[in-house]
């Protein structure tokens, strides 16, 4: 053991400019061996760019990187791996039709599959409490298990620094605890961890030190265990965290969404079948749907919004009108607006301008003449109104959607839907991957809708969010929906049990037995 420990990684003066924005502006950061170091910041603060520089995906314009005390140039992920840097990305890159071992073999620089690899996978996963069967196909794995594949893939290369980019955004509470256990064990063995997140509680629970970024600059270095969440939030967003105003529901609005006995076989072979869903969302209330993603929420939302019409017209009733067979445009005409889970390519077309993205769903707001001609001035005014009412940070209505950060684009999409004056609103994971400032504004927008009498359905994985804004909540698991509970009469523990399927009847109903998975 050396007397004065050499830092594992030292970044000094790292600067990266993109055409429109300075993503990193003179960033200094030091990670010691065995340290769990948080990089904390809102979306768009420059966290991702910074770790991509460390992993060799992006090259900095200026600044130096020292690895174990020596200056290095990391010009490719292969170089990063050779130095001993591993990275687990937020979006997994796994082939669903291949097995765990095959996926891992593909990623190893010297690919050597077969029994030897199986044994190494078993050994590594057992050592770090990451139970994995190398022979299983990835499509049979839960999201948490898929993340384990990614982590094991990194660990097989025995890294000295592991980068985790927003690893908990896809995990259930129990899985998060398990992940933290693994990371702590790794750190105890001397592996440094660079942990990217915007979740303050997690960072305070896990990390030894934190570097806070805002708008591409370091706004503070601290020990997160000794600081309050409010202090970290101030460093991160520059002001105090807004708290949503949650008034008691007064006016009962006329919006109404009813789902009766909805069963639907999944289109995607790896999707989830819906069975016997019953749900009622009245005007002036927010009903939340909790559950770990992949349990049929996407399929339910697609059916409710009309992206996938169903055979039975009265299985879905919007404002009293049977709407099961109507497509999304026809349901929008009935007053149903919808914020999809995915922003790029679903809620917005990245290549198109914000004006054009307004036209995607808001064309019914007198933006088109009776002859079908686009009223450009009205479209621009609508885009401008969305931008100013929802504080969307952008160059203007003609900026391409992809030039916006995730949080800003999400605010734009939510704003576009809200300004259409919906009577029913469906929001699917509206704050997923969105910074806390924008998340708070989006939640407030949903509450304002409720207060205006709109029937709001909120699908979310985050229990905190559901408890913060919902009046009622139900849990989705394996394509089934639990009975709806008033939010006052339940707690996180009970919802956790429901996520485990405690409400599902023991016998297997015929509708599910028809389509057995391979």
């Amino acid at each position: 053991m050396e007397a004065a420990p050499v830092p594992r990684l030292t970044l000094s003066g790292i600067t990266k400019r993109f055409p429109a924005v300075v993503a990193n502006d003179g960033i200094d950061l030091t990670v010691m061996p065995g340290e769990i170091h948080a990089v904390l910041g809102e979306n768009g603060a420059g966290k991702s760019t910074l770790v991509k520089i460390v992993y060799g995906i992006v090259r900095p314009d200026a600044g130096t990187i020292c690895w174990n005390g020596e200056a290095v140039v990391i010009d490719s992920p292969a170089k990063a791996r050779a130095l001993g840097i591993g990275m687990v990305f937020q979006q997994f890159s796994l082939f669903e039709t291949l097995t765990v071992a095959e996926n891992i073999a593909l990623a190893l620089d010297k690919s050597r599959g077969g029994r030897e690899l199986d044994a190494r996978i078993r050994e590594t996963s057992a050592r770090y409490g990451l139970a994995l069967d190398p022979r299983r196909h990835v499509h049979t794995l839960s999201v948490g298990e898929r993340q384990r594949v990614e982590i094991v893939r990194c660990l097989l290369q025995t890294p000295d620094l592991l980068i985790m980019d927003e690893p908990t955004s896809v995990l259930a509470p129990a899985a998060i605890d398990k992940l933290f256990g693994t990371l702590r064990r790794l750190a105890a063995e001397g592996c440094s961890i660079l942990y990217i997140s915007h979740k303050l509680d997690e960072i305070r629970a896990l990390c030894d030190s934190a570097t806070v970024l805002r708008a591409g600059r370091v706004t503070g270095d601290c020990d997160p265990r000794r600081q309050s969440s409010a202090y970290l939030a101030r460093l991160m967003i520059g002001h105090d965290l807004p708290h949503p105003q949650h008034r008691a529901a007064t006016a009962r609005g006329d919006g109404l969404l009813e789902v009766r006995n909805l069963s639907l076989a999944a289109e995607d072979p790896f999707g989830t079948d819906l069975s016997d869903i019953d749900l009622r969302v009245g005007g002036g209330e927010i009903v939340g749907i909790a559950g770990i993603s992949g349990n049929g929420q996407q399929e339910l939302v697609a059916a409710l919004a009309g992206e996938r019409p169903v055979d039975a017209a009265d299985a879905i009733v919007v404002n009293g009108i049977p709407a099961g067979r109507l497509d999304a445009a026809a349901r929008r005409a009935l007053g149903l607006c919808y914020v999809p889970e995915e922003r790029d390519g679903h809620g917005a077309v990245p290549e198109m301008s914000l004006e054009e993205n307004v036209l995607l769903t808001a064309y019914g707001q007198q933006l088109v003449t009776r002859q079908g001609l686009i009223r450009q001035r009205a479209v621009r005014a609508f885009a401008q109104a969305t931008i100013s009412r929802f504080d969307v940070r952008t160059a203007g209505p003609q900026a391409a959607a992809r030039s916006l950060s995730g949080g800003n684009l999400q605010k734009f999409i939510v704003g576009r839907e809200v300004l259409q004056g919906p009577r029913v609103m469906i929001a699917a994971q509206p704050t997923w991957g969105v910074d806390i400032g924008a998340s708070a504004e989006i939640r407030q927008a949903l509450i304002d809708l409720r207060d205006a009498g709109v029937a709001v359905l909120l699908v979310s994985e985050e229990l905190d969010e559901l408890f913060e804004v919902c009046d009622k909540v139900a849990v989705m698991t394996q394509g089934r929906l639990s009975p709806v509970k008033a939010i006052r009469d339940t707690n996180a523990e009970e919802l956790g049990l429901l996520m485990g399927g405690s409400f599902v009847a023991p016998e297997v109903p015929s509708s599910r037995a028809v389509r057995e998975r391979p």
Partner: protein
């Protein structure tokens, strides 16, 4: 020294527009090399190929005359292509359009031209639409790939025309040549420029270009076609019917190709022949892409492609080169365009040795 192809952070708009010009320039350069290898003086050949054909008033008329069917076909195709509907069968739709419009001219030889010509154009459009409806139906009903079905229908259309002019529609006084009777003047499009063969079909093509621009840039339906091409999930979210997109994309292309077919038989040809198009329907695919699927770009690309046709004919006469020279130049143009299009998403980087560039500044994409 290492050359690497590196992804741009964003596709370059400059290159998107410069790429067709680069491709045209590269085609000319390759033409120079080709002529030299064939033992021709490249400068003389260049003059024969690209300058002489349009040095006269008659030549300019021919340029616009041949550009008209290309504009019509390419515009219709581009509306589908923007929505990821790949109609490859414009040649067949053009042929059926010519059969329908020409058939009307043979069937009603006495009708007044003011009535007959609009009827012929309508019949041509209807024929093209009907021919394009087959792949559209196969695609929406059976999910059959429209690239294959529309292409296969080209050959059926060509054989149908061949059957008609050799059989039932053969000119009884035509010495058994496989051709129909000549159309009367009432079935011929009026000429525009004296001393040339240019007719009002050109105005029709320009009007269709303008209508195409209006459709794509100013109407909700045109906007939805673009969304369907760029982001199918967003299209579903917006309630844009995928089937409707296929139908519009195929049928618009069929209609314009059908009109182009009438323009040929009621224009420079004046009767039905076994072959009425020197591959305009296929060349229009190249035109659509060289024109960046944009109506104005298509108009310009049509002129370029038309010049290649004229130059190819001139080269046959003036340079004693085979007729394949036209298609050779068309192919080179497409080849260089596809190569140049790589530069939209990627850029070349030159490095002395791997790693030495270090933290060199990356030049912005635009």
């Amino acid at each position: 020294m290492m050359v690497a192809l590196e992804a741009r952070p964003e596709p370059s708009r400059l290159m998107a527009w410069a790429s067709p010009l680069l491709a045209a320039a590269a085609t000319v350069v390759a033409g120079f090399v080709l002529f030299s290898l064939l033992g021709k003086n490249p400068v003389d050949a260049f003059v024969v190929f690209f300058i002489e054909p349009v040095a006269t008033r008659y030549g300019v008329g021919e340029l616009l005359l041949k550009a008209s069917p290309l504009m019509l076909c390419a515009l219709g195709l581009a509306i589908g292509y923007r929505a990821n509907v790949w109609n490859i069968g414009a040649e067949g739709q053009l042929t059926i359009g010519a059969i329908c419009g020409g058939g009307l001219a043979l069937w009603l030889p006495q009708l007044n031209g003011a009535l007959l010509l609009p009827l012929m154009i309508a019949a041509g459009a209807a024929g093209g639409i009907a021919w394009a409806a087959i792949p559209a139906w196969l695609r929406t009903r059976f999910n059959a790939n429209e690239i294959l079905t529309s292409l296969m229908l080209v050959y059926i259309a060509l054989l149908a025309l061949s059957y008609l002019v050799q059989g039932p529609w053969r000119d009884p006084e035509g010495f058994n040549f496989p051709q129909s009777s000549l159309f009367g003047d009432n079935a011929l499009l009026p000429l525009l420029l004296p001393g040339t063969r240019l007719n009002v079909g050109f105005l029709l093509a320009v009007a269709v270009i303008a209508a195409g621009w209006l459709f794509t840039a100013r109407t909700l339906a045109g906007f939805r076609m673009r969304v369907a091409g760029l982001a199918p999930r967003a299209a579903r979210y917006a309630g844009i019917s995928a089937e409707r997109t296929v139908w519009i994309g195929m049928l618009v292309g069929g209609a314009t190709a059908g009109i182009a077919g009438v323009g040929e038989v009621a224009g420079p040809i004046g009767q039905l022949l076994p072959s009425i198009s020197p591959g305009y329907g296929f060349a229009a695919i190249i035109v659509a892409f060289v024109g960046r699927l944009h109506p104005l770009g298509i108009a310009l690309a049509s002129l370029l492609m038309s010049l290649l046709y004229l130059g190819g004919e001139a080269a046959q006469i003036g340079l004693e080169l085979p007729s394949a020279i036209t298609r050779l130049f068309q192919g080179m143009l497409l080849f260089f365009l596809l190569a140049a299009d790589v530069s939209i998403g990627y850029r070349l980087r030159f490095r002395r040795s791997p790693g030495a560039a270090g933290a060199a500044a990356e030049s912005p994409a635009r």
